[in-house]
């Protein structure tokens, strides 16, 4: 069940694999999901895996990552032990509804209760597709661009499972949902899960996504998350990426905001080999508010690329993008953000900033903050900086007896705080602070908070 790396074109390879196994892929899923597959695979064949010739992927070539020989999980991996025993999230005082995805498949044992008393549904995409076909019909693949984005199309063609969250009108979730993506296999594996979150009018929710690898094999994740935030819905979305350095993670977030809604998304990238985070954000109504924040701490040969497409389609909305990064060793990073203000989206306020600290001369950062504006009564600005720690600030601290190393840490920590401070779940914020500090000290290994401690001696 693996796709063999051969010299034939990647596009054809995936397409061939799809046609060969499509009955398995479609099995057990209703039309609401399956109906999109054929169109998607054709769109994928058109667009393929983007390489550097595609302007939006100028600084990240994903082809080498896809060329490896992966096991594709078109059936859930059978495990004969209880995942709960080997993994649990160790953030003190963090009380959440936990959902586990193992290699992209919903792990039933972790979430026995799928429907909360107030009508909130937290379940697998598979189950939702069968039980709530009308919601799927209305929202599934409606926000994701499976026509022009090759990677999204690939996901749409292959997606079989993922997390489904539904918050009914006017309801608020009692505690955050925590989605833990685990990757575990002896062989290289590829996961393409698909999440759908529907927030009805006036609802509230907080969602945390944690990405972990539990074994040393090479992994490739190409996930798509669609979020629909209805009128006046409020959502906090936090993503913590902590995978090992042999993994490739591509996350595609499609957010559709209706009027008066408010969404804050916060991505903390602590570890990962190659990370590409795509954010396609559409403010589809007046008076929307959006904050999209990101913090990445990279070292060694890691590469992280954040791509943000902020679409102001209607007047009177506000958005703010802030991405900050510290790059050490020979790590490379890219930021590619675009604010699009459509015609007549007057009174838009949109800001965008990307600040980077390079710690070595081998680290490299490419930044592309862009504005595309078709309305005249707007306030838009963007900024980008790249540099090292402020010499004066370091001197100030050292003159007060703080050793250089500590002073540097202190400044980096302060630099990161601007993002972490925006995490509105206090226990998590504290934990991330702690993790960031450890990370900056170089003490955090990817397995720190997993009880398996399988690869502590291995590569990080």
């Amino acid at each position: 069940m693996s796709i063999h790396a051969q010299s034939i074109d990647l596009k054809d390879r995936f397409a061939a694999f799809f046609y060969k196994h499509q009955s398995t892929i479609r099995e057990g899923l209703p039309e609401g999901i399956n109906q999109h597959r054929q169109v998607a695979i054709e769109a994928f064949q058109q667009n393929g895996i983007p390489d550097r010739n595609v302007e939006d992927y100028k600084y990240t070539d994903l082809n080498p990552a896809f060329e490896k020989d992966y096991r594709t999980y078109i059936r859930p991996k059978q495990i004969d032990f209880n995942l709960n025993d080997i993994f649990h999230c160790d953030v003190p005082a963090l009380d959440t509804h936990v959902v586990l995805l193992l290699n992209g498949w919903f792990y039933e044992k972790k979430t026995p209760q799928k429907k909360l008393p107030n009508g909130v549904i937290i379940t697998s995409l598979r189950e939702a597709a069968n039980e709530y076909p009308e919601v799927i019909q209305k929202h599934y693949n409606q926000y994701a661009d499976s026509k022009n984005q090759g990677l999204t199309a690939l996901n749409t063609a292959f997606a079989q499972d993922g997390v489904f969250i539904y918050v009914p009108r006017g309801k608020a979730m009692d505690k955050p949902v925590q989605i833990i993506n685990l990757l575990m296999d002896e062989e290289p594996g590829m996961s393409q899960h698909r999440n759908l979150m529907v927030m009805e009018e006036g609802s509230q929710a907080k969602v945390i996504v944690c990405d972990h690898t539990l074994s040393q094999s090479t992994f490739l994740t190409n996930s798509v998350t669609e979020i629909y935030a209805g009128q006046n819905a409020h959502m906090d979305f936090v993503r913590i990426q902590n995978e090992h350095n042999d993994s490739t993670q591509i996350s595609n977030l499609y957010l559709n905001q209706e009027r008066d809604s408010n969404v804050t998304s916060n991505t903390i990238s602590l570890h990962g080999g190659l990370i590409r985070n795509n954010y396609y954000l559409r403010l589809n109504g007046e008076n929307c508010e959006n904050k999209t924040l990101g913090l990445y701490l990279t070292d060694r040969g890691q590469h992280i690329d954040s791509y943000v497409h902020m679409d102001h389609a209607h007047p009177h909305s506000r958005s703010n993008q802030l991405f900050k990064g510290v790059l050490d060793d020979y790590a490379t990073g890219a930021f590619n953000g675009r604010i699009l203000v459509r015609q007549d989206a007057q009174k838009t306020e949109a800001y965008q900033a990307n600040n980077n600290i390079l710690l070595t001369d081998d680290a490299k950062m490419n930044s592309k903050p862009q504005l595309e504006i078709y309305a005249d009564d707007v306030k838009c600005s963007h900024g980008g900086t790249s540099g090292q720690l402020n010499g004066d600030a370091l001197f100030y601290l050292r003159s007060r007896g703080i050793p250089l190393k500590e002073a540097q840490l202190l400044l980096m920590y302060a630099f990161a705080h601007e993002i972490i401070g925006e995490i509105h779940i206090q226990p998590l914020q504290d934990r991330i602070h702690e993790l960031t500090e450890k990370r900056l000290r170089g003490e955090l290994t990817r397995c720190n908070y997993c009880q398996m401690h399988c690869g502590d001696s291995g590569k990080n």
Binding site: L358, K364, S367, K368, Q370, G383, S386
Partner: protein, 482 residues
């Protein structure tokens, strides 16, 4: 209020392009089309040495393999390169020796443009090389400059008289493989200006070239090469106009600058090609490759441009900062109105240590136009202590135009400090109100605000150009507040 604004808008955008006449001079024109024979013919007409013909043919063969670039934020209608004349020169008996030899019609043209081509206008203090269609018409003050060892002449003359210099520097900054339009230019360029400033010489006057497209269906492909030896200084001005025609005409030029140790080159452009009419019909396609190589230590290259013309502009004057402590500057005001499109900006490539670059770009869009800034700041690995500051402001006038910013920032050295800032704004009602209140009427108020907005850049222009630029801004824009 809105009606009043419309009226003013009407009045000003209705302003006719005042350089739109056609001069009736006999010209020597090659047939339409592009092939190796045409290139050989151009080369033969210009009596070029072998190496130049080889260069052209290589460029042409390379160009044939290339595809028109599509990355710019522009809608460029398909261009039929075979339906164009690649060489058209005003007919003259062997090069003009004195002012009396110049075709009177031609002289009249430049008189109307207000160019002091006539040497009697010595007092104007500007040495001028005038290029009409593809060929250089007249260079003034040549002798005076020659006394200092400065060479300022047409490119063809340079090829005849200083082939070694041309051979050494041509293509050293913009190779023919550089991009589609550079390859095309390298294959078919017909003339341009050549400037050589010897060691230690400070050019006593501004050097200036005036470009004029006159003949119909003709592309203009000129090439400018400026070489500044150690410790020299030159300020160079370039202006352009063209007649009003319904069809689009192509202008694809190359400008190369080499600055050696301590040399300082200042290059100013006021680009006012015919922008097309209110419906976007006609106008010049201005696809230009401009690049300077600050190869010496402590050298400085500074670009200043005021872009008001052309229906489509595709232009990125760049500086390669090779020498230690070298400095690159880019100051630009780009104005688009009606259906004009501009995608312009700069590239600053930091290679040497302690290099500095400054980018100030002011975009103004009105009507249905689109105006983009696109720039690259690249700090290479060994560029210790590089410093860049970029500021890109856009002003929108009207709600049907667009203003875009596409900066690329690539940093590979930790000691670099790179800053980019951009803002988008419009002329505020309160600003207008403030002026009104003090008895300044609306159109003057807008003129005031626009000129204030662009002042940072206009101030960098030499005097002669600053006045022209200010007037141009008024003509192109005033009253288009939306």
């Amino acid at each position: 209020m809105a009606k009043e604004q419309d009226k003013i808008l009407q009045k000003y955008t209705g302003n006719e392009y005042k350089y739109g006449w056609v001069t009736d001079v006999e010209s020597d024109t090659l047939p339409k089309g592009l092939n190796e024979d045409i290139i050989r013919a151009i080369s033969k007409k210009k009596n070029e040495p072998e190496f130049l013909l080889d260069f052209r043919l290589k460029a042409y063969r390379h160009w044939k393999e290339m595809k028109m670039p599509e990355w710019a934020h522009l809608k460029i209608p398909e261009i039929d390169y075979q339906d164009m004349v690649y060489y058209s020169a005003p007919k003259q008996k062997a090069g003009p020796k004195s002012i009396d030899d110049v075709d009177p019609e031609l002289k009249k043209t430049f008189d109307r443009l207000g160019i002091p081509i006539d040497e009697q206008k010595r007092l104007a203090g500007v040495a001028v090389d005038a290029v009409m269609d593809s060929s250089s018409v007249k260079t003034t003050f040549k002798e005076k400059l020659a006394e200092l060892g400065i060479i300022f002449c047409s490119f063809s003359e340079a090829v005849q008289n200083h082939p070694d210099l041309v051979r050494e520097y041509m293509g050293s900054v913009v190779p023919y493989t550089d991009n589609y339009f550079a390859a095309l230019n390298s294959a078919v360029f017909s003339d341009g200006s050549f400037v050589y400033i010897p060691k230690g010489v400070r050019t006593p006057m501004e050097l200036s070239t005036y470009f004029r497209i006159n003949a119909a269906n003709t592309g203009q492909f000129e090439r400018t090469l400026i070489v500044a030896e150690d410790d020299s200084y030159v300020s160079y001005l370039e202006g352009c106009t063209a007649p009003i025609r319904d069809e689009n005409q192509l202008h694809a030029a190359i400008v190369e600058i080499v600055a050696k140790n301590n040399a300082h080159v200042k290059y100013s452009t006021v680009q006012n090609w015919y922008p097309g009419d209110k419906e976007g019909k006609g106008g010049i396609y201005n696809f230009v490759t401009k690049r300077g190589k600050a190869q010496g230590n402590h050298s400085k290259i500074s670009w200043t441009q005021v872009e008001t013309g052309s229906s489509i502009t595709w232009k990125y004057p760049s500086v390669i900062l090779m020498g230690d402590n070298s400095v690159g500057e880019f100051y630009s005001v780009a104005v688009t109105n009606n259906h004009q499109q501009a995608d312009t900006g700069t590239k600053m490539i930091h290679i040497g240590k302690n290099t500095k670059s400054t980018i100030v770009s002011k975009g103004i869009s009105a009507g249905y136009s689109n105006n983009s800034y696109r720039g690259l700041v690249k700090i290479t690995k060994n560029a210790e202590n590089a410093r860049n500051f970029s500021q890109c402001d856009s002003m929108l006038m009207g709600d049907r135009c667009g203003a875009h910013t596409f900066p690329y920032i690539e940093t590979e050295n930790r000691s670099a400090i790179v800053e980019h800032e951009a803002t988008t704004s419009k002329i505020g009602d309160d600003q207008i109100f403030y002026c009104n209140q003090r008895g300044i009427n609306e159109e003057d108020a807008i003129g005031l605000i626009v000129n204030g907005y662009a002042k940072e850049v206009i101030n960098k222009l030499p005097m002669e150009f600053a006045v022209e630029a200010q007037t141009l801004l008024q003509i192109s824009l005033e009253g288009s507040v939306g």
